[in-house]
Structures are given as structure tokens and as C-alpha cells.
């Protein structure tokens, strides 16, 4: 009988922490906006003889915040360690990291996944909720940036010593989708906490996947490979998928997977061997003697816990239960904290339903942001004005079409929606007598169309309504127009 395999996936997420200064010195951590190489440097981050590290308090706070958000226990006594290896991007010849006692351990994150062992592309069936254990969260420092030239390489130390967070999961994921959901959720949390911009194109967040496969039903952990430097969700899913299939093929052919570190060649869509187990570094970890252990009090941990905002999962549940949104509407709105905040700000100023506000945000607002390539934070449209506009449509003061015109005007030039409606003479005509007059005139003018309608071409109703809209330049209340038009057509049937 042919064996069915299931993947076993563990993930490491490396994210830069958004601090002003570097992890162990007071140099600016903002290497991305440095005007030229090697300007944000000092004896500490270039590893000059005699320079000593001093731990960045802010980075410690942010790391603890992430630990708590991922349901970890915070180690009240945690230590830095030296990871020793030689490379030109590592000025001290060791990286200061955390090893035996990281700042946070033993957390979890709930993800959804297709029922195992379905693989990517087959996962349209039932889904399951899965709890992925977070093994540890620890702090370390980034390396310098190397630029390789033909016969030499240049080193830019602006990035050296920038604080990094490493989040390590247990090998608890059994599908590529689960891995994707896990990383997506953690990215959203990091952004919610304001600890990382999540800007993967800029390399502030990178993934590493540990992958092995085993026969379904087996509990063994087979030899795994480690795919390094995955810098997009697409790279993660493609690389993991490729590696799963590669390993299955090896076992099917009666071979053995060898433990190695792999790279991902995005252009060719293959994993490539970088280092085998035999060549693996012995990092000779030992406690960093230049830094005393970080001792965190219960009071300090509580003060960090108090800073935890409502996280995406909780917010989604609240949007569903409090506002009557569907899960997918709620998930859309909570995908970004700024979007969720904007939604709530508009809703709080508006008398319209949450659904109406959602549909405006998901529709017109998103279209505008995408077209103008703006983020929600750059939007000048105030929640008050937006709410007023939505309410004007709900109350039929203006038509939907007119509202879009007003919306575009507000996004472009700001201003009060009522004012714009007045200036552009866009107020909706809801006066029944006035609309009746127009309806009667249109019916009187088009006897042959009425005949066709009565003969069964009922789609002509829309044409009649359209004539009325044209006569009023779109200001006539469309629902009322339609109602009166229908009534008139029926009356003339006799």
C-alpha cells in the first residue's frame, strides 16, 4: 500500500524591533534612512577593542510585550549569551543573543488549517483550529550589511546591532496553510503592538522554516531541513511546499533525507543546499559576561501587560458580536489596527449601521486608497465627515451616485459633505409629488415602450427608471422613483 505523508513544520520568525537606538549602544537604529553607509556607528556596534554593550530598555519592553501577546511566560531572570562565529558582517566575532534563558517561553497561537494531511491546493474542504506552541521569544542583534563586489566586499555597519526579535515555534504545523496562517497572524500582532512595521519588502521580517515529512499516523520526528531567509509569504509557502514534495520523493525512492541548511532560489523555485550537518557551526554559546542578567519584576511585567492592546483575534470576535458583522467582514476590518480604529471612529460618529460603514470602507475607501497608493494613516478624510456622508445616504438626502462624487471631492480637497452637496446641487429629490410629475411625463411620452412592457418585456422597468434619473441628473431617490414608476406602469395596464 502506498504511504500517505504529512509534513511537520516549525517556524522561526526574525523581526526587527522598532526602537530609536540600537540594541547595545545609543546609535540610531534607523539604518533605512541613513544618508550613507557607516554613519550610525560607534565603538560598540563596530566591535572596537574595549567597547562594552549596554542593553536597550525599550527593546526589552517590546520583546516582553510580544511574549505576552503570544501567551508566553516571561522569564523574570533572563540572560544574554554569545553566539560565536566568524563572518565579516559580525564585528565582534560573536553575536549577542539569548540562549538558555530567553525573555519569554512556552506560549501559543491558534491558527486554522485544512484538515491534515491535505496539501496546498487541495485544501478547500473542512478546516480545523490548531494550537501552535511558541517555544521561545528572544532578543538578539542584527549583523552589518555586506555588499559583494567582484573581488571584494563592502561592509556597512549602520544595521549592525539593530535589535531583532526571534520567535521560535514548536514543530506543530502539519500543513503549509497552517504555517501561512501562523506567520500572517504573528505579523498582524507585531504590527498591532507597534514593534515591527511588517514591511517584508524592506527585510524587517524574515522567516525560517524547519521541514520534515513522515507517514500519516506516525508520531516520529524525521530528519528535518532548515530553509533560511524566506522574505515573503509567497516564498515561505512555495519553499515549504517544494521541500515537502522533495522529501516525499526521496522517501518514495527509498532514500534518506539529510539534515542540512537550505536556501530558497525564488527564480528557479527550488531549495538549494547551503550547509550540511557535518559543516554545521558549533556556536560555542556561553553566557555574555559583559551583561548582567535581565531581572524583571512582577510589577514591571504587569505594567507591560497593561500596555497590551486588544489583539486581532479578540477584536474580530467583538466586531462580530457587538456590531453584527460577518466573520469575513470583521476579519477584513481587523487585518490592520489603523483600519479597525478608523472603522470604529467612523461608526461612533455615525447613525448608520456597522454594515453600511463596513461597505463604504471596504468599497469606496479601499478603492481610493489602492488607486492613490495611500495608507489609511495618510488619509485626510476625517471620520466625522465620512460618517456624515454615510448618514446622508442612509437618510436618502443624497443618492448613492451623488455620494460617490461627494466622497471623491472630500478625499481630494476635504470639506464638509453638506456643503459640497449644496455647492454641487446634489441633494436627492425625495419629494413624491415632484417625482410623480416626472414619472407621469415619461410615461406619457413613451406609449410604445409601455406597450412592450405590458407585452412582457419587464426589463424595460429599468429603462423607465433610468429616464427619470436622467431627467433629475441622478438626484431623484431611486427607490421612490422605481416604486412610482412601477405603480404608473401597472395603472396603465387596465
Amino acid at each position: 500500500m502506498k504511504l500517505t505523508y504529512e509534513p511537520v513544520i516549525g517556524l522561526e520568525i526574525h523581526g526587527e524591533l522598532l526602537t530609536n537606538s540600537k540594541m547595545f549602544c545609543s546609535c540610531s537604529a534607523d539604518y533605512a534612512s541613513a544618508p550613507e553607509p557607516n554613519v550610525n556607528i560607534c565603538p560598540v556596534c563596530t566591535g572596537l577593542p574595549g567597547a562594552l554593550p549596554v542593553a536597550n530598555k525599550k527593546a526589552t519592553e517590546l520583546a516582553a510585550l510580544v511574549g505576552l501577546a503570544l501567551n508566553c511566560s516571561i522569564n523574570k531572570h533572563n540572560t544574554f549569551a554569545r553566539k560565536n562565529y566568524f563572518y565579516p558582517d559580525l564585528p565582534k566575532g560573536y553575536q549577542i543573543s539569548q540562549y538558555e534563558l530567553p525573555i519569554a517561553e512556552r506560549g501559543w497561537m491558534d491558527v486554522t488549517s485544512p484538515l491534515t494531511p491535505l496539501l496546498l491546493g487541495e485544501g478547500l474542504g473542512a478546516r480545523e483550529q490548531l494550537r501552535v506552541r511558541v517555544r521561545r521569544v528572544h532578543i538578539e542583534e542584527d549583523t552589518a550589511k555586506l555588499s559583494h563586489e567582484k573581488n571584494y566586499a563592502l561592509v556597512d555597519f549602520n544595521r549592525a546591532g539593530v535589535p531583532l526579535l526571534e520567535i521560535v515555534s514548536e514543530p506543530d504545523m502539519r500543513t503549509v496553510e497552517a504555517a501561512l496562517d501562523y506567520t500572517t497572524k504573528i505579523r498582524a500582532i507585531l504590527r498591532y503592538l507597534g514593534v515591527n512595521s511588517g514591511d517584508m519588502e524592506k527585510g524587517v521580517l524574515r522567516f525560517e522554516a524547519n521541514v520534515s515529512v513522515r507517514p500519516v499516523g506516525s508520531e516520529e520526528l524525521r530528519t528535518r531541513t532548515e530553509i533560511k531567509n524566506l522574505n515573503s509569504f509567497r516564498a515561505l509557502t512555495r519553499a515549504a511546499q517544494y521541500e515537502i514534495e522533495r522529501q516525499i520523493k526521496i522517501y518514495e525512492a527509498g532514500g534518506e533525507v539529510i539534515q542540512e541548511t537550505l536556501g530558497w532560489d525564488d527564480a528557479r523555485g527550488v531549495t538549494t543546499s547551503q550547509r550540511s550537518k557535518e559543516d554545521a557551526h558549533d556556536y560555542r554559546y556561553f553566557p555574555e559576561p559583559d551583561l548582567p542578567p535581565l531581572k524583571l519584576s512582577d510589577a514591571w511585567i504587569d505594567s507591560i501587560r497593561k500596555r497590551l492592546p486588544e489583539l486581532p483575534e479578540a477584536k474580530t470576535s467583538r466586531f462580530i458580536s457587538d456590531f453584527g458583522l460577518t466573520p469575513s467582514e470583521a476579519r477584513f476590518l481587523t487585518s490592520e489596527l489603523s483600519l479597525a480604529n478608523y472603522f470604529e471612529a467612523v461608526l461612533s460618529k455615525s447613525k448608520s449601521s456597522a454594515k453600511a460603514v463596513h461597505s463604504w470602507i471596504a468599497g469606496e475607501l479601499m478603492r481610493t486608497l489602492n488607486e492613490s497608493n495611500l495608507s489609511i494613516d495618510e488619509l485626510t478624510l476625517s471620520p466625522e465627515s465620512f460618517a456624515k456622508l454615510i448618514d446622508m445616504t442612509t437618510n436618502k438626502i443624497i443618492s448613492g451616485n451623488s455620494a460617490k462624487v461627494v466622497f471623491n471631492e472630500m478625499v481630494k480637497a476635504g470639506g464638509d459633505p453638506e456643503q459640497i452637496v449644496k455647492e454641487k446641487n446634489l441633494a436627492q429629490v425625495s419629494d413624491e409629488n415632484l417625482i410623480q410629475e416626472i414619472v407621469t411625463k415619461i410615461l406619457d411620452d413613451n406609449p410604445s415602450e409601455i406597450e412592450k412592457y405590458h407585452a412582457g418585456k419587464e426589463t424595460l422597468l429599468q429603462w423607465f427608471v433610468g429616464q427619470a434619473a436622467r431627467a433629475t441628473k441622478g438626484k431623484a431617490d431611486p427607490a421612490l422613483t422605481k416604486e412610482l414608476m412601477l405603480k404608473g406602469l401597472e395603472e396603465r395596464r387596465k
Binding site: 565603538p43 563596530t46 566591535g47 572596537l48 577593542p49 574595549g50 567597547a51 562594552l52 554593550p53 549596554v54 542593553a55 554569545r82 560565536n84 566568524f86 563572518y87 565579516p88 564585528p91 565582534k92 566575532g93 560573536y94 566586499a153 561592509v155 558549533d282 560555542r284 554559546y285 556561553f286 559576561p289 559583559d290 551583561l291 548582567p292
Partner: protein, 484 residues
């Protein structure tokens, strides 16, 4: 005036009987005359020294911010960074390295108005006990030029002993201040670990290294330590607690205080002349009214292996940054890649003893050996610390020998590293324990100086100075000058 104390010179300076420029010139002159024989300095900073002396004189003239160190010439061990003045650690790999920044200690001495006359020779990166493991010529003992001055701060001790500076800054990782102080007949202190900032000190063993001064007597040592100690936000391992005014309590009588004699330090192997000088000092303390108690430091025998194991491990990592890419020596002939530059640079730049210790350290930290070596040593380190804690439960200060012998002959132990390591047997346990120790001259054996050490409680340097000063009030070993 080169042989005078800080206290005496200070009086002459503030009463304008001499100027700092005159004093500095005299020191530089003395260096020119005598240092050809002693070879204690690696770099003499003539111009800078005269400039600093001039500024010190201006401060004194205006009576602005005058400290006891203003205008006083000093020497600095060449492992402490001095901006614009090369800092070599007596290694080829740093032979031409000029730091861009000052160590905290350098800054503090600058602020106090002290005058740097030069950087002193040492065992390469502090690895040695004789100042023979140097990329520069070995320093000679001023008492007998055929003998070593001790190490690793041998240059600083010899410079002070030969009157080539009024005080000298050393650094003690396992006896590197005390043993040369003893060999050269001067006073020196290894302060509590974390009392003096290590920022800018080129690390040997991050968790042992303690910067401390050599001076003509305990009083002068106290004066210098007051100026260089204290919390430093650039060194997270420094203590927050304020620095006491050591000289204000130094004259308190020692009568009734308890002096502990650790029995494990008085065993076979000590030279008879050394032992009798130490015993005489104990009797002297008895006469001063101190209560003498025998105490036990039961884990003393593990001091040497624990010390060396942790030293090798930390040093192997601390020395990784010397890779020829950013500063210092860089050898890249036909280099295939960056790692090749590292290998060539380190092969050419480090001496044998440094290479030996780095290899041993990398081994001790490697996978599969870490628990048996590094971790075990750290556990025994805790026991060493507890030994001292329990001894101090019953006494105020401990008295012990510094070295089983007086200064040995140049070349005598260079071929036998293990024999060289054993010469540190009485000094190494204090560093893993972090406690302070003051070295005092206490006599001679066959015309060579003998020293003793007073070991104190954590952060209790005040008591060491008090007890050391009391002894120097009734003896004059510290006033003896070498026949140079």
C-alpha cells in the same frame, strides 16, 4: 622628586614650589635615562604629557577644579584605550592601533588633571605572569635587571618602582596587579570586580578584569581609586553604589579588628624567605592590636583550574574581534576570501601563548564539552565565592602571600607554561570571587622584594586601605628604592 608620593607632590604643586611642567619634565628625563634598562614603557607620550602638564598648571594657578591628581604624572597599562595614543596590549596585532575613543578610566584621569606620560608594557593581552610574553622587549625588574617584574601589568609596576611615574594604572585579571607589585616592591590594589568601569579596557576575561592603581603607598592608591572608581552607564557590570572617600577613613585605628589567615595559603612550596616575611607582617599586625584568626578557604585548590578554564573560554571569544578587517594588523596576501584574511592576520598577529589559550578556550566551550568544563567551572566559582563569604563572617580582612617566590629569572619559565600558571596560585581565587585585594611590600628575600595581600569583602576597599595604611605607618618596606 620622582620618588615622592602623590600626597607630597600635591603639596609642592599647590604651594607653587614646583610646577607640573617641571615635574613632568623630570619624569620624562628619568624615563629617558632609566627606561633603556627597564623597558617598562611601550609608548612615551612626551608632547601630550607636557601639554596636559601645562593645562594642570593653569588649573592650579586659577585654583580651578584642582584635585589631588592634578599635575601628577602617571603611566597606564597598554590595554586601556587612550584616544590618539596607540594602545597595543603588547601584541603585534595591535602594534599600530590608535583608539578613536578614551576608556572611562582615561576620561576620569583626564578630568582629574593627571598627566599621562606613557603606556606600559604587559604580557600580550594580559596572558602571562612575567611581561615576557610581549611583542616588545621584556620589561626588567628594577631591583635586578636579570629578573622579571612579574605580570601581566609588569610595565606599570616596574615604571613605578623605578620612579618613572608617580602612580601607574594596572589591570588585574588573576593577580596581574598584585604579583608585579610584590615582585617590584610597590603597593597596588585589585578593586572589587565592577568597582572601576571596564569601558575601553581591552578585555581579557570580562568577568574577572579589574582595573586598579599602583602607587608608592596605600594612601596614594586610595587617592587614585577614589578618582577612577564608580558607576558607569557604559559598563553594565559596574556597581551603582557611591564611591566612599577612602582617605577620610584611612587613619582609623585597626586595634580589635579581626585578621584572618587562610590556612590553605600557607602550604609547602613557599620560599622560606617569603614565608618569614609574611609571618613577620602577621606579627606586626598583632602588635597593632589586631586579632589573628586562622580561617579556611576549602576550595582554594580548585582556584587555579577554575580561573584558567574560565579565562581560556572568555578570552577565546573576547579576542575574536581581532580579525584584520577594521583596525590593527591586517594580513591579506593572496587571500582567497575573508576567512583567509582572518587566518593570516591572526596567525601573524598573535603570540604563542595567546593562540594556546584561545584554542583551549574554544575547546572548553564546544558542543559536548561545555557542561564538563565551562559549566562545571562556573559552579566551582560559586563555591570559591562562598568560601570568602564564610571566611568574612568571622573576620574583617584576610592576609595571604601573593606569590610563593620572589621575582624569577628572565627566561626561567618561558618554556613551561604550566610552571608559569602555577606562579599565580595565591592570587587567582580572588578574581572569580570578585573580592578586592591590596598588595603591600612586606620585606625582602635575598635582596628581592616580597609582598603580601590583604583580601577584603565585596566593595570594602576602605578597610583594606585602612589596614594597609596602618602597616605602612609602622614599616618602611614601601619606601625602599631599587638600586637603579
Amino acid at each position: 622628586m620622582n620618588h615622592l608620593t602623590i600626597q607630597e607632590l600635591r603639596q609642592l604643586l599647590i604651594t607653587k614650589q614646583i610646577s607640573s611642567v617641571e615635574l613632568t619634565r623630570a619624569t620624562l628625563q628619568r624615563i629617558r635615562e632609566a627606561d633603556a634598562k627597564v623597558q617598562s614603557y611601550v609608548t612615551v607620550t612626551d608632547e601630550l604629557a607636557l601639554e596636559q602638564a601645562k593645562r594642570a598648571d593653569e588649573r592650579i594657578a586659577k585654583n580651578e577644579n584642582v584635585t589631588p591628581l592634578t599635575g601628577i604624572p602617571f603611566a597606564m597599562k597598554d590595554c586601556i584605550s587612550t584616544r590618539g595614543v596607540r594602545t597595543t596590549c603588547s601584541s603585534k596585532i595591535l602594534e599600530s592601533y590608535i583608539p578613536q575613543y578614551d576608556a572611562t578610566v582615561t576620561n576620569k584621569l583626564n578630568d582629574a588633571g593627571a598627566v599621562l606620560v606613557g603606556k606600559t608594557n604587559m604580557d600580550e593581552f594580559g596572558m602571562g605572569s612575567s611581561t615576557e610574553n610581549s611583542a616588545f622587549p621584556a620589561t626588567k625588574n628594577p631591583w635586578d635587571l636579570t629578573r622579571v617584574p612579574g605580570g601581566s601589568s609588569g610595565g606599570s609596576a616596574a615604571a613605578l618602582s623605578a620612579n618613572l611615574a608617580t602612580f601607574a594604572i594596572g589591570e588585574d585579571t588573576g593577580g596581574s596587579v598584585r604579583q608585579p607589585a610584590s615582585f617590584c616592591g610597590v603597593t597596588g590594589i585589585k578593586p572589587t570586580y565592577g568597582r572601576v568601569s571596564r569601558y575601553g579596557l581591552i578585555s581579557l576575561v570580562s568577568s574577572f578584569d579589574s582595573i586598579g592603581p599602583f602607587a608608592r603607598d596605600a594612601y596614594d592608591c586610595a587617592t587614585v581609586l577614589e578618582h577612577i572608581a564608580g558607576h558607569d552607564e557604559k559598563d553594565s557590570t559596574t556597581y551603582q553604589s557611591p564611591v566612599p572617600n577612602y582617605t577620610s577613613t584611612i587613619n582609623k585605628p585597626v586595634k580589635g579588628m579581626k585578621l584572618g589567615i587562610p590556612k590553605e595559603y600557607f602550604v609547602a612550596g613557599m620560599d622560606a624567605g617569603v614565608e618569614s616575611a609574611i609571618q613577620e607582617a602577621i606579627r606586626q599586625y598583632e602588635k597593632l592590636g589586631m586579632e589573628i584568626h586562622e580561617v579556611s578557604l576549602p576550595h582554594t585548590k580548585y582556584g587555579l583550574p577554575v580561573y584558567y578554564l574560565l579565562l581560556f573560554a572568555e578570552a577565546s571569544s573576547n579576542l575574536a574581534r581581532f580579525d584584520g578587517t577594521r583596525f590593527g594588523l591586517s594580513v591579506s596576501e593572496n587571500a582567497k576570501d575573508a576567512i583567509d584574511i582572518y587566518l593570516q592576520t591572526r596567525r601573524a598577529g598573535f603570540g604563542d601563548e595567546v593562540k594556546r589559550r584561545m584554542m583551549l578556550g574554544a575547546y572548553a566551550l564546544s558542543a559536548g564539552y561545555y557542561d564538563a568544563y565551562y559549566l562545571k567551572a562556573q559552579k566551582v566559582r560559586t563555591l570559591l565565592r562562598r568560601d570568602f563569604e564564610s571566611a568574612f563572617a568571622s573576620c574583617d580582612v584576610l592576609l595571604a602571600p601573593i606569590s610563593p617566590t620572589t621575582a624569577f629569572k628572565i627566561g626561567e619559565k618561558t618554556d613551561d607554561p604550566l610552571e608559569m600558571y602555577l606562579s599565580d596560585i595565591y592570587t587567582v581565587a580572588t578574581n572569580p570571587a570578585g573580592v578586592p585585594a591590596l598588595a603591600l611590600p612586606c620585606g625582602f628575600s635575598k635582596d628581592m622584594p616580597v609582598g603580601l595581600q590583604l583580601i577584603g569583602k565585596h566593595l570594602d576597599e576602605a578597610t583594606l586601605f585602612q589596614v594597609g595604611h596602618a602597616y605602612q605607618q609602622v614599616t618602611d618596606w614601601h619606601k625602599k628604592l631599587p638600586p637603579l
